[in-house]
Symmetry: D3
Subunit: 317 residues, 6 copies
């Protein structure tokens, strides 16, 4: 079905209207949110043929996730479960000094019981690239095993694999995370990691370029991307190490920035862009994402092009 297949949990995010509080809001806005589907949406908006696979409860809530992702252009291929919850999270975004308040309510989600046997692995086998992230194995021991099996499935079918470290301290310890991820690393072609996770989880401190090279050398990754937030990103691969600054942005919705970067980067790599260009598209997609409410990058290729090309945001009329 798709060139890019992503696998992971997508939650329903419930947020009080802008500036108001979770404790007293009379309504919550509803958005889909999940690292791998966020990345899938970003990739599809840039022209990639992407599919998200997962397991969802057969309920209006599970169908809400599918409806929202399809609306964004992402294809979905999900297993419907008769038991298990729809994961949710409650997010309040506010200006300083209030910051962001988050309540996860994702335990016992249907996806936590997803096995490789029941997932549409043929969709992975027919793809060019398979993506998942460090959040997924942290959700259950079943998923820890499933992620490994899906990566093997991809490897066996000569499908390339990408992995975003995406460490979540609320889900597991850095030690456990490292041990688990290291079992996956031999199966991974493209590793993407925030500099912070590289340091705290993978134990690689130093300049981003050094970290990228060190990780590539140690584990034999074909490509390593280190994201440094407002400081841009660095990639090692194709016999080069390149870095690109981040684009300035007026932030309305910070959640999902990293996933937008991943989706933008991979979409361009899939259509053959060099590392530097792909970093630029990742960064531009991420910058645009921060102006858009919700967790997904509802961008279009043309506007990402314009950001990359540095065109001023003026109105043509």
């Amino acid at each position: 079905m798709g060139d890019l297949v992503t696998f992971g949990e997508t939650m329903l995010r419930l947020s009080p209207p802008r500036h108001t509080r979770l404790e007293t809001a009379g309504s919550f806005d509803v958005y889909p949110g999940g690292a791998e589907s966020n990345a899938g949406v970003a990739a599809t908006r840039l022209g990639a043929d992407a599919v998200w696979i997962s397991k969802l409860p057969n309920s209006p809530l599970g169908r809400h996730v599918v409806s929202d992702l399809r609306r964004c252009g992402l294809d979905v291929d999900v297993v419907w479960a008769d038991s298990g919850r729809q994961g949710t999270y409650y997010l309040e975004v506010a200006g300083a000094p209030r910051g962001t308040d988050v309540v996860y309510d994702r335990a016992d989600a249907a996806v936590t019981t997803a096995t490789a046997d029941e997932l549409p692995t043929e969709t992975i086998r027919d793809a060019k690239l398979f993506l998942t992230s460090g959040i997924t194995p942290a959700l259950s021991s079943t998923l820890e095993r499933t992620v490994g099996e899906l990566l093997e499935t991809a490897r066996d079918a000569d499908v390339r694999t990408a992995f975003d470290v995406n460490y979540r301290s609320k889900l597991w310890s850095d030690t456990t995370a490292r041990e688990t991820l290291e079992t996956y690393f031999p199966l991974i072609d493209v590793l993407i990691t925030p500099a912070r996770d590289a340091r705290n989880v993978l134990g690689e401190a130093g300049e981003p370029a050094e970290v990228a090279t060190a990780l590539a050398d140690r584990w034999g990754f074909e490509t390593v991307v280190i994201t440094c937030g407002a400081d841009g990103a660095v990639a090692a691969g194709d016999d080069e190490v390149v870095d690109r600054p981040a684009f300035e942005t007026e932030t309305v919705a910070p959640i999902g920035t990293g996933d937008a970067f991943v989706g933008g980067f991979l979409a361009r790599r899939l259509d053959g862009a060099d590392l530097g260009t792909a970093l630029e598209y990742g960064g531009a997609t991420a910058a645009l994402k921060r102006t858009i409410p919700g967790d997904v990058a509802l961008v279009n290729r043309e506007e990402v092009d314009r950001v990359v090309e540095g065109e001023h945001a003026t109105i043509s009329r």
Copy 2:
């Protein structure tokens, strides 16, 4: 603190705006909903001094429940838990033939671990009347035991007890419900039950007046109230059996009707009304409730008086 103390779970209800669908709505309205707090609100709106006791997660969601109930006038005395979820449920209300769609997401709520030891039992001991319902023991084996202990606490302190059967087939079987409830019955003074539950759970079929008398005779309840929806209600007690018809109403929000009845009935019994008058106030509170969005009866004593007195709903200007 209060004359009436109620104990049970209160969930956050999430509903799409009127007529829209859970699957596609971009926002959900948020309401507090729980049989015993619904009844407590109704009672407090009619002038009773009521308190709801429970256990909630120490999170913006748990605090949301407290904020909403306090806004309605109900006092709360809750234990804050560091673990356990905030129960939620998703409700879509629509006209025929679409009907009502409900998704419960209440497993592992903080309240399911509430023990009599940690709950504010002194609040019960200082009250005149303690109310809980058949939903509460159905939520966990801990709560099954806790309900029994709280009823004993009340009995030991010469506090009268009321119990709303409120059978929920999604939570337990009718057989288990019956076995459990029968262990409580010797401790209960006022039993309130839908005619349907009297028949299907308690095994008492027949005319409502017969059912009320039979239950009172069998278990020694001081008062038995049988609610029959649009057909009104019957009560046996005070050496009489009385019945009252329901009031006509333009239904906007059916959920919580029965709880409004219970709160209205008990509030008037607490201030000495006879059975017939209390049934009328229960019915009028229930009829008004159905015109008000959400699960609680945000009524005022004056307007309930007017409904009982049969005044036309005209505008005085």
Copy 3:
């Protein structure tokens, strides 16, 4: 400026969103509402050249009234006051048995100090018809005098006058109302009154046709219209007595129905329609009004025509 000039108070109406309660709503919808401006809007929507004159506080609230009335097509010619409040009222509309709850907050409105000297009386002198209602003199002793002077101004300038009895028991007693209104009656050409006010205030009971004739005979009114709500209306004048039934309507917003009738009736009288036709247009305007939120009849001539002609409300496509 206009053929029809109306004078009176226009308040800002603040209402909780449909079905919700004044006590807990997080926002109030804002509408302009006043008997004489309501009638003016209805008349202008049917093609009359109408102006509303009044006195308003020079504040965003006073300007809100003007903005809203101009938006509806009504022209305004107001005196801006440096002191005095903007009258408001709070209205909750609900289904039975809840009914309608209203809180007036109109004391000390700027209009209560309006004198004939400061009002644009030349606008009245240039008109064909001057309309005010029994609400206006009830608001203050100044206004009681002003209404009399404006009616004399009209009479002196050969401008015909119309008066809607519109008794408000919250503002004055029926005895005081009667005494005051009777001082105006010699100056009035067209008297419009609900049957209820004719009976309770003016002391004319009986069949509407008899009441109309009796009032016309007693006071020498050129035309008398008796409105009977869902039972239609009767008019005596032009040497005939005619009656027309009301049109069926799905009521969303009952406030302003009578004013819509008055505006529709007078608009058609101004362009020469006979009494029966004018009653039909009054009734059709009133029926349409009840489907439209707020106090004013935002109708168009074409749709009123269709209602009068009995065309089914189907979609042409």
Copy 4:
């Protein structure tokens, strides 16, 4: 891609919030609306594998149509045009006597230039059933030709064809419509028509069963369905003539009822249901549609089953 392929125009419908007016509303709700995509959505909600093909402007408005239809579960395969408008229509729905007000603004839509050459005809060739309606050829002479060519494409590929007469008097005269449609009839297997269009456009008056049989005989249709609004529907085919009553419904949104019927009927025919069953599913889908804002039937198979089976709309809890 799909078993059912539908072709036609989809507009953006802009509607003032419930009860308010097009003339003064401060915002318009946005919905997708088009006979063939409406039917496609209904079919896909009942389990059919459906695709809508069309031509849309390459703009946020054209993309809005695709996003909304994908959200509803329908697959789309569209040609993106660099010129041509996105068709819109403005709809105000209200209670009697106000009725429904509609303003079409669909001239020069991109789809009006769609030729068979540029449309994805392979999608039709791979399908089991191709559906279009009488609205499409009425939009432009190009489309009149295109519809004929697409029907021939289907016929050549042994794909069955369905056609909904759907006469629109604002688009063409009944005479022109008849002449055009009759050129298509030899290519059509399943004809669906409102009784009103059968009479006024196709010239077949009489009892619905007679009309169905007469049309089938005259043109050799395999199946003919006559829809009679609240009076149900009749079908002739499979050597039988069957009729089914309509289901009662509380109407919130009447637009799209007929398309929901078509989609529900065809979905069940595609999976082998007999005529009577398919009529029941068409009727149940239509009845549910009327409770859902917007033009499309956002239903689920389970709830349609329940309506067909006559289950009461009660809450299971």
Copy 5:
């Protein structure tokens, strides 16, 4: 009717709620927008007696434009057309790097067929100043001729004329624009132009003061105003050349800034202010406009005074 008469197209602007996207928003906010009515509103808010004349479709959409403009205080004198569309445009405003996205849908608007014969030219003859802009002749060849005729009408009646160059590259080429505008220049007293249009369309580059003088000299304009966005404005006339800086502003809604400047400038010129003062009021009106959603400057004279006088925006309480 008015001292200032403006002529041009007013569209309905449809915008997704703040921060959201045209492609996925479930509702669009509705605003009136048109260069000449925008300027008219600004002038009327500052106390000028202004009228906007135009041609609109006789539909709820055309009436929406009139309702909205009247609400802002502007008088309107329009010809109602039985054919022709209501022009619309879709606007999404966002922070950098997303910028502003606009889709015009104004082809075949009713106004494009407006001839001088049918427009209320007596309204122009009775005015002190007539304003139109370079957008209007770009809309159709009919309007190109009409603009010329209206300018001649004004000249013949000794009514002064003002013209805002307002070049729109989506409507015509700079060459065509120049040729057309130069046919009007002999009839124009006050020319207002962005520095950018002076350079690109009129071929006058250089310092704004030089450009103003050069244009005045070349064409004999009585007054020339060059607007330079955040760099302020320059005017030549009354035997002086003056410049004023722009006021700082927190931008919420940039569209209509230039029109607000024009309206503020002309309103003060009409009541006799000198060039420098008029530039200040233009600038202050424009700065306030940018804080107000929609295209029109819903300001009041008092607050513009305060900005001109440099008073801090503090709360008096």
Copy 6:
């Protein structure tokens, strides 16, 4: 009932949605607002046991105030009045240069007739600290006397007293304010005043530390706090003079900042914090308040702790 008792007027604030205007908004958001209840809410959110006492009209509007304050966690003990208005105020908040527009409509509020006799003085006698502000005596001569009597009640019962000068030039002159306040000063333990009021009303100019010391010396206050907006605050007492800077904040809602400071400061003083710590908590509560719509500081103790401790507003996930 509470450790902290506050007394004063609470109004209903009516505000147009963000960025829109009082003059044209179609709805107003509703918030409770009053200096002393604002401070009470802030104190209760930080853990104090606080009660607000006052007099309110027995209407849905008066009950709205109670509902809203209880929702925020504040206890209330009010006298219900059969006459007197519910005070309101209309507030429009906007960016520069538009600023903030306020219309007070508080004359004849029920509270203006509140006497010490009818207020729940036992609640004061049982408290540790009684707070009121300079707004309250400015509202009526009755309240001027009542404030004095309540301060004496507190003094007689050995309850400490706090007073926020809070000068309002729209309510009284600085001379009258000074004369009145000086009659209270002998009864006051903790004086809190903006530096501006100290200078303009109390006649104490100079550096904040000097002002604090001078006021303490002159009147024998136990503690004096001088608030200096963005420049922080200074306190004299406990034999020390301390100052603390303000915290940076992204302002969404400036109204109520000072009250939040007072509540935060007093809550910490009540539980024994030293002056510097209490100033920090006052400042942090104030900074957070500015990010929250409405007049009250809907904060939690944990987030105030985090601001005081200077933790970055990052998301833990």
